[in-house]
Symmetry: D2
Subunit: 460 residues, 4 copies
């Protein structure tokens, strides 16, 4: 409850204290503490290798950093806003522990390349986590699709019933969206995996450092080849936010469908109680809160993306303090997207598909109309004409208040002599589904093939 402690209630208006709080980043960048220490250990180790520090100095520093790390992990570390950021807090504590030699750790580096290093380590780790969470989520989607590979539901365009589809097919559409997201995560990772350390404040350093060595220790596959770029680059954060915005966009679409499908009017799906809540006033309610929250939080992640794009726009080289604003939105986006993926996985895995409701619902619509038109087209009618004929048949049914499936051959023949007995068969939902046997189509055969492709892709 940062805000409350800091700015809330009756506003104090003491500018000096406000300035300290305004400048301080430690309230959020403390999250980078372990990455900061990891980077510092690699830096100190390298400095000893190239002779800028003695082996003994490096050893004292590394041991001291290990103590600080333990204090942080044990929750005993005292963060101070007066020390501004995570780096100064740690260095201050290090020097308290090991004396002035602690000051030598900052040789040949600047806070500019130091924080860049921390962020690269952090984002890389989080991208790997996202990759893992996406993989698990895709795996669940695939499992659930397999479970419902015989269930037919209405397929929609314009939220109007269009053509029946397998529920498996519908779910797999999401599988592919997230597979692209995972690919984007991996592509972005390549561009995060660059080591900025050694860029100094902006121009490199006068010390004979070995940047490759640090990169190797920290498992970076590439170096920034330009020191000014290294300290001012925030592309990888913008790109990461873009990808998270896309993931939320996909989750928001699925959320919308869950909200629709669990409504009284659709009634196709029931979510496990764990993912719904009741009403404080209406005893009958079972609200799909999680789906609504995820849909709502999409705006939040979009906002973080736009916020950072706006912040970086028009900044001259190299580092500017504006860039400190790269963190909170990113952290919040990870804190939004990661649990959303975990919860969705569990929610989808436990949902109940109400097949009886769905079957009843399928009985009365007109979603086989395309197939009647295709039937005529296959008999040689130009499709545009066939479409017109079937339009009239639909109108006839509506006038007589019967379902398309209840039409008889005589009536069909009134509209076109091309109709034969087999025209009636093609009106069954199952026939409609079976008939869409083109690659990527919704027929059980095509979906089985699709599941094979998806399985292979998942293991990739």
């Amino acid at each position: 409850m940062k805000g409350q402690a800091m700015w809330g209630g009756r506003f104090t208006k003491r500018p000096d204290h406000l300035v300290e709080l305004f400048n301080a980043s430690v309230l959020f960048d403390a999250r980078l503490a372990l990455h900061d220490i990891k980077g510092s250990i690699a830096h100190a180790t390298m400095l000893a290798k190239v002779g800028v520090l003695t082996e003994e100095e490096a050893s004292i520093i590394v041991d001291g950093l290990a103590i600080v790390r333990t204090e942080i992990e044990d929750g005993k570390f005292v963060w101070q806003t007066s020390l501004e950021d995570v780096h100064m807090n740690i260095e201050h504590r290090l020097t308290a522990l090991i004396g002035p030699v602690g000051g030598k750790l900052h040789t040949a580096r600047s806070r500019n390349d130091q924080v860049a290093l921390d962020m690269h380590l952090y984002v890389r780790e989080e991208l790997d986590m996202l990759d893992e969470l996406l993989t698990e989520w895709m795996s669940t989607l695939l499992d659930v699709a397999r479970r419902y590979d015989q269930v037919i539901i209405p397929g929609y365009t314009h939220l109007q019933r269009a053509q029946p589809v397998l529920l498996a097919h519908h779910l797999l559409a999401y599988f592919w969206m997230f597979s692209r997201d995972r690919e984007r995560v991996r592509d972005a990772r390549k561009r995060v995996d660059w080591s900025p350390l050694g860029a100094g404040a902006l121009a490199g350093t006068t010390f004979p450092i070995d940047r490759e060595d640090v990169a190797k220790q920290l498992d970076f596959h590439q170096l920034y080849e330009n020191s000014m770029d290294a300290v001012s680059d925030r592309d990888y954060i913008v790109e990461t936010l873009s990808i998270m915005a896309m993931i939320m966009m996909h989750l928001s679409r699925l959320s919308e469908e869950l909200i629709l499908f669990t409504s009284y009017e659709f009634g196709f799906i029931e979510l496990d109680d764990a993912y719904t809540t009741g009403s404080s006033i209406m005893p009958q309610k079972k609200n799909p809160d999680i789906a609504e929250l995820v849909r709502g939080k999409t705006g939040r992640v979009y906002g973080h993306l736009l916020g950072l794009l706006t912040t970086v726009k028009g900044l001259p080289l190299a580092y500017n303090k504006d860039l400190q604003e790269d963190k909170e939105g990113l952290f919040d986006a990870f804190d939004t997207v990661k649990p959303a993926l975990v919860i969705f996985k569990a929610m989808i895995a436990t949902m109940t598909v109400k097949t009886d409701v769905i079957e009843k619902a399928m009985r009365h619509d007109f979603s086989a109309a395309t197939d009647l038109a295709d039937y005529l087209a296959k008999k040689g009618l130009p499709f545009r004409q066939a479409h017109e004929v079937v339009g009239k048949i639909v109108r006839t049914c509506l006038d007589r208040q019967i379902a398309l499936i209840d039409i008889d051959l005589a009536t069909l023949k009134e509209h076109s002599e091309h109709f034969e007995q087999d025209a009636l068969t093609c009106l069954l939902p199952r026939s409609v589904v079976d008939a869409r046997n083109s690659r990527g189509g919704t027929s059980p055969v095509a979906v089985a093939q699709q599941i094979q492709y998806a399985t292979a892709m998942l293991q990739d």
Copy 2:
């Protein structure tokens, strides 16, 4: 450090716990606690007046709420995420204190109208605070303008020197921007000042409540006349965010100018040490961190505005859980804008204007060129021709590497016979400034009049 406690580090992936945290709003809506209690007291008082509660019941409830308020103010209240939100936390504690009668407080209201009430109270209070902060900030701008009503600086368009202006005039441009922001705050306040209580979950209530009485107690000047509107309206939050985005837009422009004017190249202004910081590596640096941060945080506030607009887009009536996302961005925007105004006020009040540097800088440019053209225009030349003549004079100066001010009458006459001795006078920065005597112009006389208007506007 919410994120860290909740989601950070190695990800637990236990969905049940995640769901609780995902759903819970108490980590941020606890900020509304005192407004919630205030609203509840008004509600209970009204319920007694109309006979839904007995006087005794109401009295017990009100006393209980007073105790809870004290616990919160004293920092002794224990917030629980398992109780989800601020409302349930308070009611739970109330019932623990006063027994089952606590449950009667929720008669004739729902969390939907309750949270709407809290937010209206909160936003109204914050808008009043913004109004006050803007007024103080405008007052400082006006004071500082008065202080520099004789200092001439270059005026820029396209960041190229255009025409000299009074520093007072330049500063007053900002005064008017913020005066419009203050007006917007006041206009928005009218639309916040509506009481939603009594809307129930969405359709009103079956109890014989007196909405006017609650509104009167809480000093609302109007009621929502439609219960569904009352619980689903987030316009006032979007509007408030729009206004804060605009305030940040204005501060970002001033920030940019402070960053420019304190650069080595301009050197017009020096900020007090309190608002700058040094470098961990470059001992000579004095960085305008506050100005950069405010410029950077502009993106953040824009992001919150866009986030909420996106969240509300396409939501059906009435309440949807997505709307819970209306709070954090708003809170953060207030936490950004309010201290920014306070700090800017102090920073501008204490800045040093380096008049000697400025005077020297004014000596050599060509910003009196317009006045030469105006001179010719007043002698009868169509302005477009006069402009062309002066363009050639500028070119001559550049070729000879002299300043415009160093030109002699003979040279002028070579370009146009209309030039007389008084043409030379009009080249002095002071003459240029004095000559712009139209209303709203930069001449000392016009600026003095402007200051009068501004003073009157401020006291409005």
Copy 3:
């Protein structure tokens, strides 16, 4: 099809031609032509009054401008990108028509205050148009609400059925949203209604102009009191875009509901054919294209708002060329919002409410549950307990697969002894609606009162 003509197809890559096109604004700012001429006439008239032009010069200029205006209105004017913008195109043509005296029109003004004037005239006119369109739209909403003041539909929260409401009540919720938008339009208009002319390039002018006279001619109620503010202010455009974003937000919510209500599953409403389209492939489809388009175009208007906020962020005073980007997004927003309001008005006025479908749909849900709980609360049970009892009754119904309305007194009494015969009455949708008689509630009496308030507000 600007893009196509200019940049499309195989890319020419000739930078000089690209620069001309990149710089030129005439392809979009030609829209301001009539405002530009109107402003120029006022300027010339004033210049004659103060003696900067002779009466004869002014008269020639004004007559020339009238000819240009006619050429434009008749579609005979030839716009040239080589002349960059609307101002130069018109002045160029004017000078061709009346000779060098045309050049005198630009005396005592700059393109910076000229374009600012044009935009103020344009935006003011468009805001007045928006006001008018909103009023007509609100009037239609009110009419349609009156038409359906006896039709009961399910009221939703979380898209789950909550409590029945009058369709009139539901529609009126939108009335109030748009009434606030109209109020915002009027508030914004106050801040557009400032005359910038006379600000010159940035610092005022050396000519003895009479800014009040121009303002009076053009019906402005106020002057910019600071010339730098006058030429760099884009607040009023940002504010106008904010308001249009809000209007689209409201339309997007109604769009979503129309899409839901016209779906097969809901089936409450049928739109007139004029506002739906068929499918090129599915003969049975009747798609709510207009509602979808408006929902989709919401993103577009949000984008224009963000775009301008981003563009203005961090710009130093006074005019910068970036500000030329203030126009296209604004124009497009007006071109989106205005027809959307007109079309929605016609679409809502002509929609068919399928009362039989709705009545049938109301029969089976549990949306009277709150009233059962209120019933118990009125008998003295704390509401939280009453809520729990009714929750169990709902569960019982679900187990027995009966509607709440089909329950008998005996069963009710099993759950609480407080139930009497009148408990059954309160389960009827009409009873539920009638009972919500608090001000702003959904009862017919309350809604009738609400309609009175709305009628009064509309005529305001």
Copy 4:
């Protein structure tokens, strides 16, 4: 000037005509005409191969399409908004040319997969163009860097002078930014290169089509494996807009620097007249309009990205009309980014670097201060102490009003006994630059190596 023709002037308010214009996309999607025809030819060819069309039918259709293509290329095609979109316009003309067989072209496809195909072809082509333009722009950056590999300019952080750098180094920072953009373009291309044709309206088709064949004809390396995904996927457009937002972000940073560097106060650079404009009122002005416009247009591209993200948020599967909004923003973004790259290339290639101004400017600052501190650190002082010592030296210089470079050894020794004669040498800009010899640093040796890497990367 679409808007003007369609909505402008006095608003007609005839909703039926407005609906036609609102629905119609042909005013912008006509841009896809050639891609549409290309896709149709491939489709017809395949239909003949699998026997759905006869060879003769296919041949007539393909020949007819060729005629339509020629009509379009020759500008003779008459687009009609009453025919709604590019597809219907073309099919309508085709049928007029070849008779009812034209209607058979639409067999086994829907407008949903047809427009998806067109957009994939279009975006893929534009990404290839972007790749090419980025490569040419990077090549120019590299050339210009090579040209200035001995010019030293101040390096900035916080817009305060920090440490001197080679201009080549500064320019190369941008090279790397755009190299990442190019990589992103290539990564995105992989995800555009999927063929959607065959997805039908949403569920596949009942015809025995050969999707692989179409893909092969159109050079797609992959198929959408899910028909619902194929027609509702707009990821690739969002991703493309994200990348263009990033490119504009990078160009906006360079623009800001050009605006700074061409200002009177910096004066480091002069742009060729072709990329600047004058003032209508101030004869001396040379404004960097192009750089300002590009900086300003950044907001526009950001807006398009946000617009589409918002539009797609929360859309259920599969196609919804909202998705028609995917085009105009994208087209406009390409129309902005592509000429910006071309113009920047020409502008940077022709700019003049004013080395004499820069050299003079370098003389007086304190940007060698870090090197003095490093000097002490190398003598064994902990860096934090060295930093403190040099801070005091800077203060001394400021007090005495001398440049750092004018200090003498005696004064240095007063501050620390570690200083020797060689300390003075390290104060020269050239020494400072030479000393930053770490990989990626600004020393001439390091920069030469960097140029080698960049050259290799460019040819990649």
